[in-house]
């Protein structure tokens, strides 16, 4: 069952044929003018009425950042790690301003990664951020990664968490895969 047609949104009802077998896996994709196409995989199951929530991202995409004061209030961890290694708040704000001007995509990725890392539990109520000691703000600070130095104590914590099958903190929804990942170098600092 393949179909492509125009329908009215923003809420669309779907009927997916159920075969009770490998034919029950579908790919659903939507396009809305002025926005990036988006979609997801769906497994048909008559017992489950699935709700697919798709976020429309306008194109061309423009990244906008909150004022520094607002960022500190709403996302204190992002603000805290923007200031890592700096002497005061003014310096952190300047770094934030400079990154907005010179590396907006890298800054956006950084904030995504910090937010995600803050939700990964790796034992003893800690997250990877608790082990992050230094961030490299040079050319390696990119829109899909950043490099830094962590306390080596993070390694056994991650290994223990992996053995326990854990790694998640909080009750919120899982973040969709962003394609971003952190490459962290271990070192003593």
């Amino acid at each position: 069952m393949n179909q492509t047609n125009w329908v009215k949104g923003p809420v669309v009802q779907l009927n997916l044929q159920f075969f009770d077998g490998p034919g029950d896996n579908y790919t659903v994709t939507v396009w809305v003018k002025g926005n990036r196409g988006t979609g997801d995989f769906v497994t048909a199951d008559p017992k489950i009425h699935q709700v697919l929530k798709f976020m429309l991202i306008p194109v061309p995409t423009k990244i906008t950042f909150r004022p520094w004061v607002e960022l500190k209030a709403k996302y204190p961890k992002a603000a805290e790690y923007l200031g890592l290694g700096l002497v005061d708040d003014a310096a952190a704000q300047q770094r934030y301003t400079d990154l907005q001007a010179n590396k907006p995509a890298s800054l956006a990725c950084f904030m995504n990664l910090i937010t995600a890392m803050n939700r990964i539990g790796i034992g003893a109520g800690k997250t990877p951020l608790d082990y992050l000691k230094k961030i490299k703000w040079d050319d390696s600070f990119a829109q899909d990664r950043f490099f830094g130095y962590i306390d080596p104590a993070m390694i056994p914590a991650v290994e223990a968490t992996a053995r326990d099958g854990g790694g998640r903190r909080g009750k919120g929804p899982r973040s969709p895969s962003s394609g971003c990942y952190a490459q962290l170098q271990t070192d003593r600092v």
Binding site: K8, L14, N15, Y26, A44, P46, M55, L56
Partner: protein, 36 residues
């Protein structure tokens, strides 16, 4: 009892601020079966 042959799903569109899209929009919908 006859076996159900249709599964239902609902697509809900959100804007970039994570709010449900309020106005009516035209959506090009593609549904592909991954098996065939």
């Amino acid at each position: 009892m006859a076996k159900e042959t249709v599964a239902r799903a609902t697509i809900v569109l959100y804007d970039g601020t994570q709010q449900p899209v309020a106005e009516e929009v035209d959506v090009l919908l593609e549904v592909r079966n991954n098996f065939g």
